[in-house]
């Protein structure tokens, strides 16, 4: 057998694939084919490395060299220089933007230094389409341990003792949930994996499923054994073709090996897993809605109790956990509750995966211990704000969360702290905003989302959120009043207090938190008709700079409403009442004599 002594890992996540990483992998293989050491080098398309900003990423083992922004045409050089001659390709190494130093190992990069990877422990390290690589990294050991060394009650106790809380958003203790399902008596129970990641701007679950699908399958089987279920269902967004493909491959391989299916590893325990597809409804992240959707119905939530643990899919006890929650389980079973509980804060144990995005240098997927501060995440890991702009806010928790400011930056991130400062953990979206972002518009963006995604079953969410959005539009259009700001608070409070499910109970958060933290900005919109970020179109004015205008008449000719007047070779003038702010004049002007002012 040939000894493989070098691995070239290329990122095969959705983000890097969009930047031709698949072609890159093929080119690398091609280049190697003709070389004499082709037998000793293996090209692996792995899951997401997390550092999406600098994708596609190529990592070479065993020396851990970390190349960024690699293009297919770079394949030849990597093979010729690095693989064959052992010389690193410097131009592809990461250069620290602050020190300007070249860094050749991921471990030394700011982006990775503070990360601890439990849920994403295998992402970027293994070929997700090869169960052997998962097994080589302790894969399915936890399942074996569960089946042959532990009783269901022991497993539940371990999960409880670990302090693990559900990563889907609410933070309900996972062990208690399992216990509830285990206690429900029934001839049939289900384990459901919620992979209907709907938060716009969050892609943790997808990255895990794409990068390490077996960890989820293994955890579901462990859960099934613990709660007494023999069937697992993964409810996954249809918009995740790559994750679906990899899950299908993983299920097939796991079945072939005998770690999923009937009589697993000869233990007598049966557990089969199949896929159910979502169809684009954010509310289906709510577990009762998800269950109705799996039953082929409209994904409308129903009141809890009864909890799914008592009466869920087809009225049978059903344990629903999200992808990231499951991905942690094998590690907890392998290394023990105490080990897991040693990471994190008092009430939030372990790590959390975040999708870091927005106006930040290092966009990507990160996993940090609970208790890491926002500052560490944004500035140390995220590399600070893009283009040298000023940090303004960070939005956590997606449409259910809130916008936090400078003063919250040193808050250690955990479930309770975020709630206390008016936001929430949510599923792990973290969007950084800079001075160019208007906070009223930001609140409006999230409300547009909830209005679109509300199921329409209960009145406060169906109508109330629409009214909040209309009021925000009124404000950003320059027609708001101070009374409107009060109204937002009153109506927002009632919507939170009266809505049927988590969607409506949290939908006003983006407004309420920006009212709290950016009150001045709202007041400016209302009283001064001013948007300091220059984002609210109606508050902008196109004006002609008198000193620059040569009177060429180009702007007047292109103006669709006749708002621009002026004689040839004389300074022109824009009548603001007629201007529709289309910007055509500014595009047309060859003398840069039209400017946009707030």
């Amino acid at each position: 057998m040939t000894k493989i002594n070098q691995h070239i890992l290329t990122c095969g996540g959705t983000g890097c694939r969009a930047s031709e990483s698949k072609i890159l992998a093929a080119r690398l293989k091609e280049e190697l084919k003709d070389s004499e050491i082709s037998q000793n080098v293996k090209v692996v398309e792995s899951g997401c490395f997390g550092f999406c900003e600098k994708g596609p990423i190529v990592k070479i083992l065993p020396d851990n060299t970390f190349y960024t922004q690699v293009k297919p045409k770079d394949a030849k050089e990597i093979v010729e220089e690095h693989i064959l001659k052992g010389r690193k390709v410097e131009r592809l190494l990461f250069r620290d933007p602050n020190t300007n130093e070249l860094i050749d190992e991921s471990k030394s990069m700011g982006f990775y230094k503070k990360q601890i990877r439990i849920a994403t422990r295998n992402c970027g390290f293994i070929d997700p389409e090869n169960i052997g690589e998962y097994v080589a990294r302790e894969g399915y050991e936890a399942l074996g341990k569960a089946l042959f060394e532990l009783e269901p009650a022991d497993i539940i106790k371990t999960v409880k003792d670990s302090g693990m809380r559900g990563r889907g958003g609410g933070g309900f203790p996972t062990g208690f949930k399992w216990e509830l399902t285990a206690k429900s008596e029934s001839d049939k129970k289900y384990v459901v994996c919620n992979a209907d990641e709907g938060d716009p701007g969050a892609f943790m679950d997808r990255s895990i499923l794409e990068g390490d699908p077996h960890s989820v399958l293994e955890a579901m089987a462990i859960c099934g054994f613990a709660v007494g279920a023999d069937e697992g269902l993964i409810y996954i967004r249809a918009e995740y073709p790559l994750a679906i493909e990899r899950l299908k491959i993983a299920i097939k391989q796991a079945e072939d090996v005998g770690v999923i299916g009937d009589d697993i590893l000869g233990s007598g325990f049966n557990f089969n897993i199949s896929l159910k597809y979502g169809a684009g409804a954010f509310v289906c992240g709510e577990e009762t809605a998800l269950i109705h959707s799996m039953e082929g119905l409209r994904g409308e939530p129903t009141l809890k109790p009864p909890f799914p643990a008592e009466r869920g899919f087809f009225d049978k006890p059903t344990n629903v956990n999200n992808v990231e929650t499951f991905a942690n389980i094998p590690a907890i079973i392998n290394k023990g509750a105490e080990w897991y509980a040693s990471v994190g804060t008092e009430k939030s144990k372990g790590t959390k995966v975040f999708a870091l995005a927005g106006k930040i240098n290092n966009v990507g997927l990160i996993e940090v211990p609970m208790g890491t501060t926002l500052r560490e995440v944004i500035f140390d890991i995220g590399g600070g704000i893009k283009d040298g702009k000023k940090f303004k806010a960070v939005q956590t928790g997606g449409p259910s969360g809130g916008c936090l400011t400078e003063k919250h930056l040193d808050t250690p991130i955990d479930f309770d702290n975020l709630l206390a400062i008016g936001s929430m953990m949510g599923s792990g979206g973290m969007v950084v905003l800079d001075e160019d972002d208007c906070m009223v518009s930001m609140a409006k963006f999230y409300l547009e989302f909830t209005v679109e995604e509300s199921c329409g079953k209960c009145a406060p969410c169906r109508i109330g959120n629409k009214r909040l959005l209309e009021t925000l539009e009124k404000i950003t259009n320059g027609n708001g009043t101070m009374d409107d700001l009060d109204l937002l608070r009153i109506q927002g409070g009632v919507i939170k207090d009266t809505s049927l499910c988590g969607l409506g109970q949290t939908s006003p958060n983006p407004i309420l938190s920006t009212l709290d933290n950016f009150w001045d900005e709202y007041v400016e919109h209302v009283e001064e008709n001013k948007c300091r970020a220059g984002q609210c179109k109606s508050m902008l004015k196109y004006v002609i700079i008198e000193d620059e205008c040569v009177g060429c008449t180009a702007c007047a000719r292109v103006c669709p409403t006749g708002a621009i007047t002026g004689n040839k070779k004389e300074v022109h003038f824009i009548t603001q009442d007629l201007c529709i702010k289309c910007g055509a004049c500014m595009d047309k002007c060859n003398f840069e004599s039209i400017e946009l002012i707030a």
């Binding site: 996540g13 959705t14 983000g15 694939r17 969009a18 930047s19 999406c52 900003e53 600098k54 994708g55 709907g198 938060d199 716009p200 701007g201 969050a202 892609f203 997808r206 990255s207 249809a238 918009e239 995740y240 159910k276 597809y277 979502g278 169809a279 684009g280 409804a281 954010f282 959707s293 799996m294 039953e295 082929g296 119905l297 409209r298 994904g299 087809f314 999708a355 995005a357 927005g358 106006k359 966009v363 990507g364 939005q395 997606g398 979206g429 969007v431 905003l433 972002d437 930001m442 963006f445 989302f449 679109e452 199921c455």
Partner: protein, 165 residues
């Protein structure tokens, strides 16, 4: 490419395909969403005639089929263009200017989001996060992803497809 149904009519071969799909899922009511996925995959969209036939095949009131179709944004009752343009309006893309891309595509093609051009070539839709946030803002045309798109790149992207017949 979408199969176009004549109003209130369904071709025999298409009926058979729907029947096959429904039978493939055991005709179970709980499989409705999977059935709809499969039918949309085949027809390109879900016209009334297809929904009615699904209802007939699995013995479910068509009102319920329609209720489910209209609940999920993935399902569409309008045929999409030959080159469907999807603009990501997830948060990461939004803060990096996705809304301006929406405006620009609408302006260039003279259609709104949710519509298809008269020649059936392009349609515009928005979607929430394709997971390529590092490339924000992102636009997809069919299966091809374009990253770091700015409004002035829109014309160039469209040009690639306009010349194709």
């Amino acid at each position: 490419m979408s199969i176009v149904c004549e109003k209130d009519k369904l071709q025999k071969q298409h009926q058979l395909r729907i029947k096959e799909i429904c039978q493939g899922f055991g005709g179970e009511h709980s499989e409705l969403i999977n059935i709809l996925h499969a039918c949309q995959g085949y027809f390109g969209y879900l016209p009334a005639e297809v929904q009615e036939e699904i209802g007939m095949q699995i013995n479910m009131p068509v009102s319920k089929v329609f209720g489910v179709v209209t609940f999920y944004s993935f399902f569409t009752m309008k045929p999409k263009g030959r080159f469907p343009i999807s603009i990501c309006t997830g948060t990461a893309c939004y803060v990096r200017g996705a809304d301006k891309l929406v405006d620009e595509f609408q302006r260039e093609l003279g259609i709104d989001v949710g519509q298809t051009t008269g020649d059936g070539k392009f349609s515009i839709s928005t979607l929430r996060c394709v997971g390529a946030c590092g490339l924000a803002p992102v636009v997809m045309v069919g299966d091809k992803t374009y990253g770091h798109v700015s409004p002035n790149k829109v014309k160039k992207i469209l040009k690639e497809y306009k010349k194709e017949e």
